[in-house]
């Protein structure tokens, strides 16, 4: 067991990267789940009086769910770039720790943007409930919050790519050999 831990966390940075992938996907999905709970509860209240608005409400209910997907993309990106999927691990512990830090930051941003987006979505749901003809414009309100979730995803992808590129910071003659 100790040997295995040494292999994943000391000799290589693979363990840190996997930990990062787990954190980003877990935190993002929790945020999205809570966000959807908020938005869909509010929409259900409106739909109980105006069931004909279901189509317009569906988009607003689903919007806070995107952060979960961004977390998923982040985790896949980490797994691909660190060689976990290919079985070709080529990152040092310092790079693994850097990836963990990126994953934590991304997870936090995705979690809170999901909640903020859910609150914006409830306001948009209220607006649509009162003025159904404004439904199209109302979608823009929570969509604005989405920008920051996308920024967090993009910057995470860029940083992970930069950290793990061949000849980049991840290159280490000591640990660059094939382990598996």
């Amino acid at each position: 067991m100790i040997e295995l831990l040494k292999l994943y966390f000391v000799q290589t940075g693979c363990g840190w990267a996997i930990l990062g992938a787990i954190i980003v996907v877990t935190v993002s999905c929790l945020g999205s789940a809570k966000g959807i709970l908020i938005a869909s509860s509010q929409a259900a209240g409106v739909l109980s009086e105006k069931p004909e608005l279901f189509g317009k409400m569906l988009v607003l209910m689903a919007l806070p769910g995107t952060q979960g997907f961004y977390g998923f993309i982040g985790a896949i990106m980490i797994a691909l770039r660190t060689g976990v999927i290919a079985g070709h691990i080529s990152i040092s512990p310092s790079v693994g720790l850097a990836i963990l830090a990126i994953a934590i930051c991304m997870g936090i941003v995705e979690y809170f943007t999901a909640l903020m987006q859910a609150k914006a979505a409830t306001a948009a749901i209220n607006l649509t409930g009162k003025q159904p003809e404004e439904g199209g414009r109302a979608i823009l309100i929570p969509a604005l919050v989405e920008t920051y979730a996308v920024i967090a995803l993009l910057i995470s992808i860029l940083l992970i790519t930069w950290l793990t590129k061949e000849g980049g910071i991840s290159y280490s003659p000591r640990t660059g050999t094939e382990i598996w």
């Binding site: 938005a39 509860s41 509010q42 209240g45 109980s48 009086e49 609150k119 409830t122 209220n126 009162k130």
Partner: protein, 346 residues
């Protein structure tokens, strides 16, 4: 709300309330209703609202009180069943419990009460059990009220007993409002409760003074539940020499969280009513003030305050409807009705 219910648990009921708010009647509707001179026109106006299921025939206008109560309590209980914490709705229902309690105690103590009970949250059989000193699960403040009312039967002159019972129960009610205020965590509802307690407390003091009731009775039976430094006690000691400065000091001290403009309005409103005899003006002004205070919650997406605001609006709407329909049915002049009409929530 105060007892562990999470804010997002209010989403469903807030969404429902958001749609129901659109169905609340506005000032234009009440003006239209006032301008209708024939009952048939009023019925047509009502048929364009959510009340059309209740008013289908002109004869229903004569039963407006029962029908509007039915409409109000159906909505209130529906919302209460959907809220994660019923304290917000109980605030509106407790008024009936207080009326029921007054009726019950007066009937038992003086034999003069009305044997008529409104919809309640507390089963009236429980009052009976409390009166007979049997153990029941009632709020402590109500148990104390019943036992104090029993004691006052021997300590007070018979002709003063109905007034004393009113003082005891009004005091208990305002104390109960204070207890609710302590359990609530939403700032705007807390402020509303404090202002409500202050306004209603002042109303009791004014009524007692207008009736020239013995000051000792007021002190003993109305104020005994409040702390020595409570605003109502301060107000009571200063009511005789009511100066605007005193009001401002008391209000600023007790409403330190409220905005300056809010304080100023309350001071102006109360001080302008100190010298007058009891009039409807005070009630109209204070009701409008309280509704204005809670109105900004319309822009909160969800939470207990959103539901509370709607229920305030619904209560005002039903009050206005009763006023206008009652006035029209009994052929009371439009001007008299209009000056008593409260502002609408929407």
């Amino acid at each position: 709300m105060g007892n562990g219910a999470l804010h997002h648990e209010w989403c469903y009921v807030s969404g429902l309330v958001n749609v129901l708010e659109c169905k609340l009647l506005n000032t234009i509707f009440f003006d239209r209703l006032l301008s209708s001179n024939v009952l048939g026109d009023m019925l047509i106006n009502l048929n364009n609202t959510t009340l059309k299921t209740y008013f289908t025939h002109v004869k229903h206008l004569y039963e407006f009180e029962t029908l509007l109560d039915d409409y109000y309590y159906t909505r209130l209980y529906e919302i209460r069943s959907l809220t994660p914490d019923s304290t917000v709705c109980d605030f509106f229902l407790i008024k009936n419990d207080i009326l029921n309690l007054k009726n019950f105690v007066k009937l038992k103590a003086c034999g003069t009460g009305v044997d008529k009970y409104s919809r309640e949250t507390i089963d009236k059989n429980k009052y009976d059990d409390t009166w007979n000193d049997e153990a029941v699960s009632l709020p402590e403040v109500i148990k104390e009220t019943v036992s104090l009312s029993k004691k006052s039967m021997t300590a007070v002159k018979k002709e003063e007993l109905p007034f004393v019972i009113d003082l005891i129960i009004d005091g208990a009610y305002l104390k109960y409002i204070e207890n609710i205020h302590k359990t609530i965590k939403v700032e705007i509802i807390k402020r509303y409760m404090m202002a409500y307690q202050f306004i209603k407390g002042f109303e009791v003091l004014r009524r007692a003074m207008a009736l020239k009731l013995d000051i000792n009775l007021l002190n003993k039976y109305f104020l005994m539940g409040f702390d020595q430094c409570h605003m109502l006690r301060k107000l009571f000691t200063d009511t005789v020499r009511t100066s605007e400065k005193t009001f401002r000091e008391i209000i600023v001290e007790t409403h330190c969280n409220a905005s300056l403009q809010e304080n100023e309005m309350l001071v102006r409103m109360i001080s302008s009513n100190t010298s007058k005899n009891i009039s409807f003006q005070y009630e109209v002004e204070t009701d409008n003030y309280l509704l204005d205070m809670i109105r900004p919650v319309k822009y909160t997406p969800f939470g207990p305050e959103r539901v509370f605001g709607y229920l305030c609006g619904l209560t005002t709407e039903v009050f206005n409807l009763k006023l206008v329909l009652g006035g029209k049915v009994h052929k009371i002049g439009n001007n008299l009705l209009k000056e008593r009409l409260r502002k609408a929530y929407v």
